[in-house]
């Protein structure tokens, strides 16, 4: 077997366990998007063009709340700022590649693929190790597109009474599960959450996501600095 393909397959098998929560998430996205009033084509378009669960959910949430395009786009940008970190970490491993590969890899640089490939990159010395990230990202791509599609079809059949929209905050809550054990994270979570909650009606232009995230990060910056002082 060709060694590129082998590493690609390794990426697929490593990322697989992380794909389980992506299934309900994709379904919910498809259902919600139709519910809010986007066409099936636009819903599919979001998953193909944006290809990022958190970004797409924020888009829906702010759009249905009547936020302006500028606020929506900058909120999506804020959500995505974590990718800067991923890119910075991955760049060390792909710096010698041709631009075309960097363009392809960037499309697949998502939370789940980054999580497993980052571990693999640290251990592997092979030149073509980037196929691992492409394998993981591609797997997630297939699942994200097909569950979006299923959500679009199922949308009409699922009763509103089930309250599936509650699965959205629940999914994000689940992503933060490991952060509840760390004091600084808990303080940052409460700061951001309370600002968003009380600012929801008072921060103009529905900019509460950006304001809350910014203050949350500032809090993290200060607290990590203070912590260093006392270590």
């Amino acid at each position: 077997m060709n060694s590129n393909f082998k590493i690609f397959l390794k990426g697929i098998s490593d990322v697989s366990p992380l794909m389980i929560p992506v299934v309900p998430f994709g379904l919910i996205f498809g259902i919600l998007s139709i519910d809010i009033g986007f066409s099936p084509l636009a819903t599919m378009g979001m998953s193909l063009i944006i290809f990022g669960g958190a970004s797409q959910i924020i888009l829906l949430q702010l759009f249905s709340g009547g936020a302006s395009s500028l606020v929506i786009i900058s909120s999506v940008g804020a959500v995505n700022s974590r990718h800067l970190l991923y890119g910075a970490v991955v760049s060390e491993h792909v710096s010698d590649l041709k631009l075309i590969w960097k363009i392809i890899i960037s499309y697949f640089l998502i939370d789940q693929a980054f999580a497993v490939s980052n571990e693999y990159f640290k251990k592997s010395k092979e030149k073509n190790k980037y196929f691992h990230l492409i394998g993981g990202g591609f797997t997630c791509w297939i699942i994200w597109q097909s569950t979006t599609f299923l959500g679009i079809i199922l949308g009409a059949a699922i009763p509103e009474k089930l309250g599936l929209s509650f699965a959205v905050p629940l999914t994000f809550l689940a992503i933060l599960v490991n952060d509840f054990r760390k004091l600084i994270n808990v303080i940052v979570i409460l700061t951001s959450g309370l600002i968003a909650l009380f600012g929801y009606n008072y921060i103009p232009y529905k900019a509460y996501v950006i304001v809350a995230a910014f203050v949350g990060l500032l809090t993290a910056y200060i607290l990590t600095k203070v912590k260093k002082k006392y270590e």
Binding site: S69, I73, H83, A88, S95, L197, Y208
Partner: protein, 103 residues
């Protein structure tokens, strides 16, 4: 048609955050301090989605009484902290939410 512009712009900004560091980065641009702070991005941003979705009613005012989402979220959080399992957290939250609203 403007929906499509919105989608494309959101796609562009998402892609650019992924591409920019891979394409432009010189290693020394990101020191450990910046990395450390960026690692708090999920904790700083996701609560801004979670809190309003749980505590606000449809009209946007805070609803603390007779709000099944609060109890369900607390149960999900406890299950999450104990199990460290994303799926278990989501299922615990949904199951308790349905139990509360249907019983």
């Amino acid at each position: 048609m403007s929906d499509w512009f919105l989608i494309i712009y959101c796609g562009l900004i998402t892609y650019l955050t992924r591409f920019s560091m891979i394409a432009l980065l010189k290693k020394e641009m990101f020191n450990n301090r910046i990395r450390e702070v960026l690692s708090y991005v999920p904790s700083a941003i996701f609560p801004a989605i979670i809190f309003p979705a749980i505590f606000l009613d449809n009209s946007g005012s805070i609803q603390l009484e007779e709000n099944p989402k609060i109890l369900a979220a607390i149960i999900a959080m406890v299950v999450g902290i104990l199990s460290r399992n994303i799926i278990a957290t989501i299922f615990a939250g949904l199951a308790s939410y349905w139990t509360i609203i249907f019983i």
